[in-house]
């Protein structure tokens, strides 16, 4: 084996032995460091995965949704608009949608009532989301009762539960027939919540939206790309919120690392002096301390990332659920598809491993460049 490699092996052996002598302190440091990486990696992986998941689901969403605005507020839209929009070149599959929210005092939660585009349940029956079923303790065959817009009691037979894979957006959903929906909310025939449409050529989406606004100045077209951006910024904002909360932990770690790295104990200084006196070069000391810093930071990084992976993809980020998934009463239960963005991981590694290793090396270098004659005194 070349002497250079053998030398590095010796230095690593010595580093491990030196670390074992101060195992309590090193273990504490690795634990705090691991916690920090765990938090950062969890937030990063969760937001990335949920954005990816939401992005995939939004791919099924209509390319354009047209809402009618009255005094700056979203209002019901007449079916007349649909014919005019369908006449715009490139627009297709124009249809009116019916959806709305209903507050249920029993669970103190908001439910989303929707009429599906296809396969709507027959009148008097509903399909419900898994979160809602859990909250109400309901199963297929049970009856759900709600008070409608006029205070009248509406009872629906539960015909089916929505698929668990779609729970991220259907946790609180109730799918029902158009007839039931209109009766429940008191919406006249010929009025819809909004209008959805597809565009034949995806490059003409913006053009079609412009034509709709031109034709109907009281409408607001929402593009799928805008919805995707909104989701992205929503999760980015929540990610920022969690990271802000943990900024204190980050600062504490920085102080700990700096204290550990900058405050070489008298024993450590003496040890460096002895090593130099017996023939170690400054570069050997720095290499040894670099191994030590790299070992601590890499161990913590790998442990933190592995724990975060298990936390996010095994338990659906159970620790950050309230912040990252929202403040709703009905938490969706879903398992994210494991995915790790290598670039993000590299950035995280760079931001955690490199500063710590550098912080460890600098004070040791300062000690190592002094003459070793102090050990003779």
């Amino acid at each position: 084996m070349p002497p250079w490699i053998e030398r590095q092996r010796h230095l690593m052996d010595y580093t491990l032995a030196a670390m074992a002598r101060r195992w309590g302190r090193n273990l504490g440091l690795v634990a705090v460091y691991t916690l920090l990486v765990f938090v950062l990696a969890s937030v990063m992986m969760f937001t990335d995965a949920i954005q990816r998941e939401a992005g995939q689901l939004l791919e099924q969403a209509p390319e354009v949704v047209v809402q009618r605005m009255v005094a700056g507020r979203h209002d019901l839209i007449s079916a007349d608009y649909m014919d005019a929009i369908a006449a715009i070149r490139g627009a297709r599959q124009v249809r009116g949608r019916l959806w709305g929210y209903h507050f249920d005092p029993v669970t103190a939660a908001n439910y989303t009532f929707m009429v599906p585009a296809a396969n709507a349940p027959p009148a008097g029956r509903v399909h419900i989301g898994a979160g809602l079923a859990r909250a109400r303790g309901a199963a297929v065959g049970d009856v759900l009762s709600f008070r409608g817009h006029d205070g009248a009691l509406f009872s629906f037979d539960i015909e089916g539960l929505l698929r668990a894979e779609s729970e991220i957006i259907t946790a609180d959903a109730i799918l029902l027939s158009e007839e039931d929906f209109r009766a429940f909310f008191g919406i006249r025939p010929g009025l819809f919540t909004d209008i959805s449409l597809q565009v034949r050529n995806p490059r003409e989406v913006t053009k079609v939206a412009e034509k709709i606004v031109e034709r109907f100045p009281d409408t607001r077209p929402i593009l799928r790309s805008e919805m995707q951006r909104t989701y992205a910024s929503l999760f980015d904002w929540r990610q920022g919120l969690v990271l802000t909360v943990f900024a204190g932990a980050l600062l504490a770690f920085a102080i700990l690392a700096w204290d550990k790295a900058a405050g070489l104990s008298a024993e450590e200084r003496r040890e460096i002096g002895i090593l130099k006196a017996v023939g170690w070069e400054t570069t050997d000391i720095i290499a040894m301390k670099t191994w030590e810093g790299a070992l601590v930071s890499l161990t913590a990084f790998l442990l933190g990332v592995l724990l975060a992976y298990g936390h996010v993809f095994g338990t659906s980020a159970v620790m950050f659920e309230p912040v990252l998934k929202g403040w709703a009463t009905l938490y969706p239960r879903f398992v994210l598809t494991p995915h790790v963005d290598l670039f993000q991981l590299a950035v995280l590694a760079f931001l955690t491993v490199v500063p710590y290793t550098a912080a460890t090396v600098v004070p040791n270098w300062k000690t190592a460049v002094t003459d070793p004659d102090a050990v003779m005194r």
């Binding site: 084996m1 010796h10 032995a17 002598r21 040890e271 017996v278 023939g279 070069e281 460049v369 003779m376």
Partner: protein
């Protein structure tokens, strides 16, 4: 042959606490001999050894090791000279606690990149010579003063340097252990090593094996018999 020409060493130069430890010392130290530096505390004995052993550079003057000027070498080369030419036995032994005796002995050889198996064999051989084979795996803090010193001697010899430097080697030993130490030194000199020591101890500087006693006072050479 180690030669010092008009060597001075000043600490904290230019500051209010400037202190001259060595003043204009010129000496020739012969190979394969035992030289002892004596003198009262603060006379500059230890500083002189640090200069000869390349642990520090002189402020003024030249030090030559076998016709090579080592006083002006850059730190990296100075370390290489120190590693290959000098073995040190410090007054407080300066072993690294927490490590075993054999690990301490191998320390100076790590930067050489010698294979671990050969290094371990040599370290064990040296410990056996010091009658410490059975204590090889013991952490050094478990060893007695005499055992620690023998580990320090084994460590000083791991790179097979021609010169052994010992600073007050018997200061922490009783008479019996001091005699054992001198016996070890005698064997090393017979094997061709040069030994440079500082000592207050008459048991050391009056020993038959000592060839030269250099007396220092106030940083100057007082007498060279």
């Amino acid at each position: 042959m180690i030669e010092l020409r008009n060597v001075s060493k000043v600490f904290n130069e230019g500051r209010h606490n400037e202190f001259t430890a060595i003043r204009d010392v010129s000496l020739r130290l012969a190979d394969r001999e035992v030289t002892v530096f004596t003198g009262p505390s603060g006379s500059g004995k230890t500083t002189l050894l640090t200069l000869v052993g390349c642990l520090a550079r002189p402020t003024v003057g030249r030090i030559r090791l076998h016709d090579r000027d080592i006083s002006g070498l850059p730190e990296r080369f100075l370390t290489q000279v120190r590693r290959h030419s000098f073995g040190f036995v410090f007054q407080q032994f300066n072993l690294i606690s927490g490590l075993s005796a054999v690990d301490n002995v191998m320390l100076p050889a790590y930067p050489t990149g010698r294979p671990r198996s050969g290094l371990m064999a040599r370290a064990l051989e040296l410990l056996e010579l010091m009658a410490l084979a059975e204590r090889a795996d013991a952490p050094v803090e478990w060893l007695s003063g005499g055992e620690k010193q023998r580990v320090a001697i084994a460590r000083a010899l791991i790179n097979d340097p021609p010169v052994l430097i010992a600073d007050e080697p018997t200061a922490n030993l009783d008479t019996a252990m001091s005699r054992d130490f001198l016996a070890i030194l005698e064997r090393l000199v017979e094997q061709g090593k040069t030994v440079l020591m500082t000592s207050h101890d008459p048991l050391v500087y009056e020993a038959a094996m000592v060839n030269t006693v250099v007396s220092l006072r106030d940083g100057r050479v007082e007498t060279v018999p």
